[in-house]
Symmetry: C2
Subunit: 431 residues, 2 copies
């Protein structure tokens, strides 16, 4: 029924397991310069942690903590125990880096394999990893999980749609890993090539790395003719494989035998009420190289109340609706880019891509949304176009309480890179 027995543990047993692993994690943390200092100052030892809720005795760890202790400050093992590192990709500013022991890689691959099993992939399936490799954890993370599950793994990497298509066909690929924005781009490519996506053998797509709306998922499913499953992860918590939808597509199960998840009010740091939105805070329970305690992910979500029909007992989080730090404030309104995507993707006239631009008009911050329109609606009839423009602006205003400028552009005219899509451009500083 499950890939691992831990997935169906009664809550009580699960919490007992979490407590044991939390104690062990605290003991490991005391070996790192950063945590030994911080926990030492508070006089905290493993004995202070006798239930998952005791985690609140710990202070939060932030991205700034990781930066300030770059690169080695959080390491708990001798240097020659590490076999991998992933680093944030910037070339300016202080980066962050996560170090993995062989045990960490094994446990990470196991978690990803569980995710892939949960969406219905099995030994015998052919799996094409259409995401970039290298320092981006999405590539190697999913790759190792796929091999662990025993899938025939095609390490296609990012881009080169023609070759992707050839591989999909030649090897009767049944599952893929693809970034949502590239999935939409690939749908356009198939259309141009005159390929019916339903003629392909694929039935499952894992989509992650970019937060996206339920509307975007529906569109990907419709356009590609497969089931798309939402995946959640971040490098600080290994990479992909932190939380994943099961076949019910009703929220993402957090692997609670490997992590303690909390939802807090980002202003006060206090726990959010059950089912309420807040910031996700994560603690690793199975990492011996570089455990991290109460990490402020900045990602906004909530626990979905109740049990999942799949039978897994691990709690589910809702799709990420934004990041605590990418909230835009325009004319006093708090706006998350995901709200804009949601509104756009629910409109049949809108094609695959959009771009949010912030600019200044006099002293006022203004919002412009460039929206790609499907060819059949991009007609030489000014009245029709103006009508559509107004309709989109009104739909967005209903959602975000501000009326943005709307610019209609032709399908496929917004530049599309191979990595994560850029959805927001801030022009204010340059003006």
């Amino acid at each position: 029924m499950y890939y691992e027995a831990a997935e169906g543990l009664a809550r009580e047993s699960l919490e007992k397991l979490q407590t044991e692993r939390l104690k062990r994690t605290i003991a490991t943390c005391l070996r790192s310069p950063f945590y030994s200092g911080r926990l030492g100052a508070l006089g905290l030892t493993p004995d202070d942690f006798n239930s998952p809720a005791d985690i609140r005795k710990l202070p939060f760890t932030t991205k700034d903590d990781l930066r300030a202790n770059y690169p080695y400050g959080l390491l708990c093992q001798p240097m020659d125990h590490y076999v991998r590192l992933h680093a944030s990709s910037g070339t300016t500013g202080t980066p962050t880096a996560i170090f993995y022991t062989q045990n960490d890689l094994d446990s990470w691959a196991g978690l990803v394999a569980r995710c892939m099993y949960a969406v219905g992939l099995r030994k015998g399936d052919v799996f094409q990893n259409m995401s970039g490799y290298g320092l981006f954890t999405g590539g190697l993370g999913i790759h190792y999980g796929a091999e662990r599950l025993g899938l025939l793994t095609v390490p296609a990497g990012a881009g080169n749609s023609k070759r992707q298509l050839k591989l999909l066909r030649d090897f009767h690929v049944s599952g893929v890993h693809i970034i949502p924005s590239y999935a939409l781009h690939f749908a356009s490519f198939l259309k141009e090539e005159g390929v019916d996506p339903r003629s392909l053998n694929w039935r499952i797509a894992l989509i992650g790395a970019e937060p996206h709306t339920e509307e975007a998922r529906q569109r990907i499913q419709d356009l590609l003719g497969l089931k798309a499953f939402n995946s959640y992860g971040m490098t600080e918590m290994n990479g992909p494989g932190v939380a994943f939808e099961c076949e019910k597509q009703a929220g993402m199960h957090v692997w609670e035998d490997a992590y303690i998840a909390e939802i807090i009010n980002p202003e006060t740091g206090e726990p959010a009420a059950e089912g309420e939105m807040g910031e996700l805070v994560m603690t690793t329970l199975c990492r011996d190289g570089m455990p991290i305690l109460r990490y402020r992910t900045r990602d906004l979500t909530r626990f979905i109340p109740g049990a999942c029909a799949c039978g897994r007992t691990h709690r589910r989080i809702d799709r990420i609706t934004g990041r605590a730090d990418d909230m835009l404030i325009i004319k006093g309104c708090n706006i998350y880019p995901m709200q804009i995507e949601q509104a756009l993707m629910s409109m049949p006239e809108v094609a695959q891509n959009y771009l949010i631009e912030l600019f200044k008009e006099g002293e006022m911050d203004q919002l412009r949304v460039k929206v790609e329109i499907k060819d059949e609606f991009f007609v030489e009839d000014m009245r029709a176009l103006t009508g559509l423009q107004k309709k989109i602006a009104a739909r967005l205003r209903d959602e975000i309480l501000v009326t943005p400028r709307v610019e209609l552009v032709q399908h496929d005219s917004i530049p599309k890179g191979e990595g994560k899509a850029v959805r927001v451009v801030d022009l204010r500083a340059k003006q």
Copy 2:
């Protein structure tokens, strides 16, 4: 002393091991559609193979055989036993694909780890993989080997020199994997940035994927301030890890417990005399997913006679001097691009890059070589430049017996991609 005891086996024991593994390989091959037909027709069974030399009873396998039996014709196991495939990257023509079981991946990683140990890398070293990942076996192949050996592996991927440099510095990287043409490009980059390569912590570079001359190696060593080791492999034989230099830098040991290597006369198919140049023919001994018998690599080399000072008993091949199929015939002379590189790289005026162009003048095939010249020699003195041009043309004529047109170009003016360098451009069809 060695990473594995097999590396020091007496020849007699090694040949006994080869014979056992050859028998097992033949038995495995009889399960594939392609080999069961071919061996069946000849009435060959494992009992016919009682020494490595008995391999000559077998017909050769060629690239065309792989194409004709694409994709599944050489597979020996049920489909759900495979966990990886690598395919040639073309989008036109029939590609080739190699399938790996988990055992195959494990044994491949072990072979690569042995190579890395042989050049002096050890647990505790930090290793940056500066080669592309994905379907190219050089990326994942070296990556898995590095983790197997217990190196702290930085999956940097190809390109982005600024970021490469930051990673090299931040993590005190001691070893890298880099394509020779990118190594030369990276040397220019360091010079532009004003970085003394000897200020970096690196001491070892693995260079492979592109055949290159001893002169190019010397240049890479001088420019980067490290030891560069030649690596040989090809996807049909797993990828990297087939043959590798040891610390003596005196030819590449073929891992003869995992492969049987032959050198043949490419015209007659008969064994070349000991120490004579010919085409390398390879047989896998440790692959259960897709073993390949007597594969015509098209690569030209020779066995280096005598024993290596390192004590390893596995025979050494000389660096690849060209491919049987990239020989150019100009004015009746057989010319290998490697001869041109060798001549150019021995001249102090020549910078990092060159390009060979074939074109037609009337009915005659002509050869043009564009040569990048170091800044200090690229002066505004026509007489000096003409003199240099003549000097290079004469040096090349001595080597290849044909006088090419020589065009001097500025340092870094020949376009450089991120993958394997394009060294020969054939303009004749387009004229």
